[in-house]
Symmetry: C2
Subunit: 273 residues, 2 copies
């Protein structure tokens, strides 16, 4: 039987989920069924959440795990009475923080993923539209505004990485595909040569690339192991020739690729989340 895990929050639930996923990922032998209860902002909401947790506990005859980021003290008191193991982020950390900072915290609900700052919102939306407009080499004349230009072969993760850099960090990330034309002479296209200092390369194992491309166009030359292998060899030769920093993304998630791009380039994020 799977174990129930609840994420209880006065806001989106994203912080509670992030905390919970990180802890539960340490118990890889146990399967968890996860329930997010967001926007719990009143006594009534909290009593309803407790009732749902208690129903689950009774039906399954088990103790649910409850990750809470409720900040209101009376709501936390209500939740603490539920028939689950309550792991309360604010109970664990707010006290030592208040002591160190020498002030009481505001206990304001729903702060974490709310719009706090119209300027930050504008930066983020601007970055998303920049990533879209400059995706896949569609446009190159705004490269002077780019923070970074990702390059690599087709289906190596350039687009989702550009979007993640925009959404999470507010960075202006363009991306440009290298293709057979470039591999014939191992030359960077002129437009990229001018922007060499902004380039960051992605590479990927040829067999993984072939598998990914096969899902899109099975049995094509495009997806053949031979073609993928040729492209990756030429790609890495170009990276080395032009001293473009690069990363093998075969075993990496979008979050890992994005944070490694930041670490390797020294780029400063425009948003602090």
């Amino acid at each position: 039987m799977t174990r129930a895990a609840f994420y209880v929050s006065d806001g989106t639930g994203i912080t509670a989920e992030t905390l919970g996923h990180s802890l539960l990922s340490q118990f890889s032998d146990i399967a968890f069924e996860q329930f997010t209860l967001p926007y719990i902002q009143s006594d009534d909401d909290t009593h309803e959440a407790v009732a749902q947790i208690n129903r689950t506990a009774a039906e399954r005859d088990q103790t649910p795990i409850v990750f809470s980021t409720l900040v209101d003290e009376s709501h936390r008191a209500i939740l603490s009475k539920c028939h689950g193991l309550v792991l309360d982020m604010f109970a664990a950390f707010l006290n030592p923080l208040e002591q160190e900072l020498g002030v009481r915290s505001s206990h304001t609900v729903g702060q974490s993923h709310a719009i706090r700052d119209a300027e930050a919102y504008r930066i983020r939306i601007g970055a998303v539209h920049f990533a879209l407009d400059n995706d896949d080499g569609a446009r190159t004349r705004y490269y002077d505004q780019a923070d970074v230009i990702l390059t690599g072969v087709s289906r190596s993760g350039k687009t989702p990485t550009s979007l993640y850099l925009a959404l999470q960090f507010g960075l202006y990330a363009a991306n440009y595909p290298l293709t057979e034309d470039d591999f014939d002479d191992l030359e960077l296209p002129d437009i990229l040569r001018e922007q060499r200092h902004k380039l960051f390369g992605l590479t990927i194992d040829a067999d993984r690339l072939a598998a990914t491309r096969s899902e899109r166009k099975a049995n094509s030359r495009y997806a053949s192991p031979r073609q993928c292998d040729m492209e990756i060899r030429a790609l890495e030769a170009i990276y080395n020739r032009y001293r473009i920093p690069y990363l093998n993304v075969t075993e990496l998630s979008i979050e890992e690729i994005s944070t490694r791009v930041l670490a390797k380039t020294g780029l400063q994020r425009r948003l602090q989340g």
Copy 2:
């Protein structure tokens, strides 16, 4: 003087940042300068992190706040000796979890945002490409594959919300703009009428819309308060006429819009983060 806050992680740092932002947002009178130290995976890495924290403590003559999601016990022991206030997520929560679950955790580093599941990765990338291909009404013939179709006027947040739903939840989110042609007769376009059960509307206060559009095209009819007001009235009339669920996004972040869309539609996410 701003207070230094460090996020120390054996992985991307995303969990530590999320936890820290949530706690620090409760202290709105204090300005924090934030430093992320990701991929701390050895004793040497940890000693370097400690040295950086201690340098900052000495230079500023203050105690930095240190949010840690290190999982390795020897690294945590090293970090605990630094001259900062260490808030250690695993120290706070892993013990009660192990007791409740009746097993020792794996103490595996870098689990939280790593690729664990190739299938989940494929879902996510598929969702991102679906959102891109079906952005802004560009294509409508794949609407049968959509989980949700967002609609609203130009610059009301449809595109970033679609991308967030794709990246975070693996949902297939299309979006379709309503324009003056639709407002003349208050009729939904045929293609949307066929997919009415998948529609979700965004609306926004007319004055905020006018301000946002002015940044893009100042002094245009498109950005005039009169035009924005007319569009929003007609838009909401269409939503009401066709009983399309909708949300006013004026005061909401992308995370808030996305999680409210989930809550209001009952859509099940395809990824659990």
